[in-house]
Symmetry: C2
Subunit: 168 residues, 2 copies
DNA sequence: TTAAACTTTCAATAATTATTGAAAGTTTAA
DNA sequence: TTAAACTTTCAATAATTATTGAAAGTTTAA
């Protein structure tokens, strides 16, 4: 396969995976493009490469910066902004986990915590099942939360940092 | 909070979480409804409870059965089919992980594997960056895959089964 | 100041995804 | 067989989500 074709295939696959996991396809594609670019790219270049509009490129890049996956770079003597993606897979995974936890897991945890405290008739099967399910899910969610927390602090922790080395 | 209100809130939260993770909102809501139901429900009851059409209920339930999260039950002397959700959170997590791996991770792994083998000029920075990124991501994805595999076989493995006990 | 070079916003629109509901299909009992 | 009781399918439509592109905004150099 040609390098050019391989790049397209990678961008497509990354975009598809993203969209299956609730991440905007274009955002994943821009990220993919930057991941395989040795140099930082301009909005203009990204627009051309992926055939997307200026508005779309602009908002997508802003999101990626917001997710901590891409950084803005300024080149001396130039007006244009350049975008560069962190290429360390572990950082990428960590950033994504961090953001999704904050945006999605945390709010659900709050609701679950609240629902855990709903009182009712201990003899009512409706109540018993509700209560048990909510409590069980809450427990699992909390454990996931705790695990992610530990993961995100990996470098400070001998246990996880040794696990991570295996993954690198 | 009233039990009825709490149920609605749970169904809503579960649906929202699902949709943020690329799972059809209605499917997540039906799952939530079944999770907190002590008894198996009929299509009719689910339709009424969530105000969805027969077609939608039917397809959603079929999907949930396909995901291994819900089972069909038949009651003696009745024509109607009943649906019952497994309430063991660990089984739920495991089933979801298993299905998503099969449906989404595996295909990506295949593409990555292929792209790993693209040959090119080792001095071309374009090629070098492409190659390195793809290889790194492949390595990570493979490790995730392996870890999930181990997780899914948890019960056969003393290490994971002891970890899982902490999670239950 | 001005104007060129750039970025951002956002209403309109396009694309995608989910849902409906009626018709067709299936199963069972008699 | 038949018909009642149920399930499934799928084209049409609705709802949601993503994208465009032009206008407005900002920054910089001179």
């Amino acid at each position: 396969m040609e390098l050019a074709a391989a790049k397209l295939k990678f961008i497509e696959a990354w975009g598809k995976l993203g969209s299956e996991w609730g991440i905007n396809r274009t955002m994943a594609q821009v990220h993919a493009l930057l991941l395989i670019s040795p140099e930082a790219l301009t909005t203009e270049e990204i627009m051309k490469e992926l055939s997307i509009s200026r508005g779309n490129a602009n908002m997508t890049l802003r999101d990626l910066v917001g997710w901590g996956l891409v950084e803005k770079q300024h080149k001396a003597g130039e007006r244009k902004e350049y975008f560069y993606a962190d290429k360390d897979t572990w950082n990428i995974a960590r950033q994504v986990a961090k953001e999704r936890r904050k945006r999605e897991l945390d709010p659900v945890l709050k609701v679950l915590e609240e629902l855990t405290n709903v009182k009712g008739d201990a003899k009512d099967p409706e109540f018993k099942t509700f209560s048990k399910s909510v409590k069980d899910i809450n427990k699992l969610a909390k454990n996931v939360d705790k695990t992610l927390d530990t993961m995100l602090k990996a470098e400070e922790n001998w246990f996880w940092s040794s696990i991570f080395k295996l993954f690198k």
